[in-house]
């Protein structure tokens, strides 16, 4: 049993005292930066890169990887507690996680996020160990047409997200699309909607929009109410999920893990897509979708599992092919170069201790994160008993520090404030925020892939149905449309027969 031997070999490497230490440092630092919005794993790894110079390549990779997936854990904490998404991938957690906290169920929400993440991390690690190289080859089959069809399916499925007023939801998706195309057009270099402002030429950062509409908007909304909000000090029910919570979450965690692994393997999908998809799927599958957005534990369990599986599987192209799927992965490859190891497919065979040691350390790191996070839940929940008049300035300050730290740019703080005001207005007017963010994430990617596919096919749109993977997604999209439209048609028929 080759795999078994390899894993034992990997654990042998990862369990050395030095590597355990660096793994712990990595996940601890990751958790901390995950809590802060803005400052993410990319900046942290870049700044810590020189430290890795003096340690062994294995220890260096273990620590850097720990920072990366540790940040995914930390990001959900503030999302649940104060509606502040610490990382891009934890935006979805805000929707139901924060509502759970409002109802005094912050403890179960945090615990289920940790449990879901751990499960997803375990599966993701196994997947890399078992099928890393073949999966990477499959991922390479995805060109521009495949990605476009996949995202089309995502956007159509997103109609499920629509809650209440359909017109308002569509308006918000379109607004998100428009906000998303601000910046420099990749193909021509033309500036779009940047009004000659340099700070807008790279587009608006996702974290700026998310922190603005969620965290800042919520604060403005709370302060608009006359009475000082009692932050649930009275009715914190229990710290840990009940048996019923666990039962309700099991399915979402498994499905979220599946979705996260799928999107994680594909290097061309961004960080928020896996968690968005999981949220949409759970909402569609739920018997009473009305609970979503009002504190459904499935809406935390699924997306949290999905984003951790996604983060874990993003290592596949990097480890097996030496290809960076994101900036973080590029930096980790850079760390290898500094160590005198040429990144590429040959690393797996030439440096097995690196490959298997890192994989084993990921599982150990995930276990550490659970151990680190579960005891902290009590502490976090107590944080909510801080009077709101003290809590909200602290949230504002942390948001501002985090946003500033991305580009050392005061402009982005102003932009966050602007989105805070807009978010407050939208909330008051009953415009849903999630469709806007989805449009913001998917829109620019769809445009990029559509135009690239058309450019490469010489303007022939049949490319979407002649390539088998793309065709499969198109068929699935049509099926989703049929499934979604059918119930309303049936209802109308029933109305007619009455």
């Amino acid at each position: 049993m080759d795999l078994f031997n390899n894993l034992i070999f990997g654990f042998g490497v990862a369990l050395s005292l030095q590597n355990l230490f660096y793994c712990f440092v990595g996940v601890l630092v990751g958790t901390l930066i995950g809590v802060l919005p803005g400052i993410g794993p990319l900046g942290t790894i870049a700044i810590l890169l020189p430290i890795t110079y003096s340690v062994s390549p294995v220890a260096a990779m273990i620590m850097l990887a720990g920072i990366y997936y540790g940040a995914q854990y930390g990001g959900s904490t503030t999302a649940i507690l104060v509606n502040l998404p610490g990382e891009t991938s934890s935006v979805v957690t805000c929707i139901d996680g924060y509502q759970m906290a409002q109802q005094g169920r912050a403890g179960p929400a945090l615990a289920i996020a940790a449990i879901g993440s751990f499960f997803a991390g375990t599966v993701g690690t196994l997947l890399i160990a078992l099928f890393g190289p073949p999966l990477a080859d499959v991922a390479l089959k995805f060109g521009a047409p495949e990605y476009f069809s996949l995202m089309l399916m995502g956007l159509v499925a997103a109609a499920v997200l629509a809650q209440g007023d359909m017109v308002k939801s569509i308006a918000m998706v379109v607004l998100g699309l428009l906000l998303g195309i601000i910046g420099t057009d990749v193909n021509s270099g033309v500036q779009r909607f940047s009004f000659g402002i340099f700070e807008l030429t790279d587009g608006i950062g996702f974290i700026v929009v998310a922190v603005g509409v969620f965290a800042v908007g919520e604060i403005v909304n709370n302060l608009g109410e006359r009475q000082e909000r009692r932050v649930l000090s009275a009715k914190v029910s229990n710290l840990f999920p009940t048996w019923q919570d666990l039962k309700a979450s099991a399915g979402p965690i498994v499905r979220g893990t599946g979705l996260g692994c799928f999107f994680g393997v594909l290097p061309g999908t961004g960080p928020a897509i896996a968690s968005f998809s999981s949220y949409m799927l759970e909402k569609k599958l739920a018997k009473d979708p009305d609970r979503f957005g009002k504190g459904a534990i499935e809406g935390v369990a699924g997306p949290e599992a999905a984003n951790n599986a996604d983060a874990q599987c993003k290592f596949i192209p990097m480890l097996t092919l030496g290809l960076p799927a994101s900036g973080v992965m590029a930096l980790m490859l850079g760390a290898l170069t500094i160590q005198g190891i040429q990144p590429g497919p040959q690393v797996m065979t030439q440096r097995p201790e690196l490959f298997w040691g890192l994989i084993a350390s990921m599982w150990i790191g995930n276990a550490m994160l659970v151990v680190l996070n579960l005891p902290l839940i009590g502490l976090w929940v107590r944080l909510l008993q801080v009077p709101y008049r003290l809590l909200f300035p602290a949230i504002m300050a942390f948001s501002a520090i985090g946003i500033f730290s991305v580009n050392n740019s005061a402009f982005e703080i102003h932009l966050t404030a602007l989105f805070g005001v807009l978010g407050f207005m939208w909330m008051r007017l009953g415009f849903p925020l999630a469709p806007m963010l989805l449009g913001f994430v998917l829109g620019p990617m769809m445009e990029e892939y559509l135009r690239r596919a058309m450019l490469m096919s010489g303007g022939d749109p049949s490319v979407f149905v002649t390539r088998p993977i793309s065709l499969a997604f198109i068929i699935a999209t049509v099926l989703i449309l049929v499934v979604m439209v059918a119930p309303s048609v049936r209802k109308r028929r029933e109305a007619f027969t009455d």
């Binding site: 990319l42 900046g43 790894i45 870049a46 700044i47 890169l49 020189p50 110079y53 390479l140 089959k141 995805f142 060109g143 521009a144 420099t184 057009d185 990749v186 193909n187 021509s188 270099g189 033309v190 500036q191 340099f198 700070e199 030429t201 790279d202 290097p267 061309g268 192209p317 092919l321 030496g322 290809l323 960076p324 799927a325 994101s326 900036g327 992965m329 590029a330 930096l331 850079g334 760390a335 170069t337 500094i338 005198g340 040429q342 990144p343 590429g344 497919p345 040959q346 690393v347 991305v406 580009n407 050392n408 740019s409 990029e448 690239r452 450019l455 490469m456």
Partner: protein, 323 residues
């Protein structure tokens, strides 16, 4: 350029005559090094070790100030308006010589007038690599195929004005060919597409391609430097392989706001000469495919002027400027 050359000399005299004591004490406080890209960006990878090791030599901390955005122009504009007392420095790269021709910088900064060149740091050539499925084995065959099928061979690069894009545009102009230019939001995704075979050609940095070349996932046809590179000894230069005169290297250097005291420049240059021989610095530069290049201050000024001229021509002839 006599006026520009005279500027450092004038400041030297001024500094020597007015404030000899202050000049000797430089640096009397921490120095700010503006890096006009995000942590992890290429300017950052090169600039950060310089801040660490140069700071040690100078006996003062050098504080890295990442000011990313607008293809390095935000940080560059900021540096151009900083006090010229030697306590603000800026890391520049090839983008410094390209942006003035792609964007309207009037009222913001002038690459020559707003800055005093301090020191060259490093340079790294690009590599012309193709997917092995493309039936060519050398640069001449690629040119022949591209002439046979103009606008059909997929060339993946990062966005307009990026190093990957510039190297390819220069090749198109000098070899008289036209690829199907497909652009990506970053160099990494572009490389993935070429390795996967969705596109066939890339002009990328050494660090992005070497591993893929050594494992046979990409075929290297040439490097964009004047001499072959040690890490790929069998790969000819593009110049010798069929495009005489082709040279495309990314480079990094340090400049200061115009009129910086020459004493400060001299002190920095003296310590940098040592820093640039330190093994950790050399190793970290390798992370960006860069090798140390030392130049005199005058040579560096001439180099910047030559780069500005070269890319002005390429931008103009390739029509890459967005209207």
């Amino acid at each position: 350029m006599p006026a520009i050359r005279a500027l450092p000399l004038a400041t030297l005299l001024l500094a020597a005559s007015l404030t000899p004591a202050a000049a000797q004490q430089y640096p009397a406080k921490p120095i700010r090094l503006i890096i006009p890209s995000a942590p992890g960006g290429s300017n950052d990878v090169v600039g950060r070790p310089i801040a660490t090791f140069l700071g040690e030599r100078l006996g003062r901390q050098i504080i890295v100030d990442n000011r990313a955005g607008a293809g390095t122009m935000i940080g560059t504009e900021l540096a151009s308006k900083a006090p010229n007392d030697g306590y603000t420095l800026l890391v520049v790269s090839i983008a410094f010589a390209v942006n003035p021709w792609l964007y309207d910088l009037r009222g913001r900064y002038d690459p020559i007038k707003s800055f005093t060149p301090v020191a060259m740091l490093a340079a790294g050539p690009n590599v012309l690599a193709v997917n092995p499925s493309l039936p060519v084995n050398n640069v001449k065959e690629l040119i022949a195929l591209a002439k046979e099928k103009p606008g059909k061979i997929g060339w993946a690069s990062a966005g307009v004005g990026s190093f990957q894009h510039l190297g390819g545009s220069l090749f198109e102009l000098q070899a008289g060919v036209k690829f199907l230019g497909v652009r990506f939001k970053g160099g990494g995704p572009a490389m993935i597409d070429v390795v996967a075979g969705h596109n066939q050609v890339a002009f990328s940095s050494l660090v992005q391609t070497t591993g893929q070349i050594q494992s046979g996932k990409l075929k290297a046809l040439g490097v964009g430097s004047k001499k072959r590179v040690p890490i790929l000894p069998d790969v000819p230069t593009i110049d010798e392989a069929g495009v005489p005169g082709y040279e495309a290297s990314n480079w990094w250097g340090i400049v200061a706001p115009a009129g910086v005291p020459q004493a400060a420049v001299d002190r920095i240059r003296k310590e940098l000469a040592v820093v640039l021989t330190a093994q950790p610095v050399i190793d970290q530069f390798a992370n960006e495919g860069a090798e140390v290049v030392q130049m005199s201050q005058g040579e560096f000024a001439d180099f910047i002027a030559a780069e500005l001229k070269k890319w002005q021509q390429v931008v103009k002839d390739s029509g890459m400027k967005a209207e």
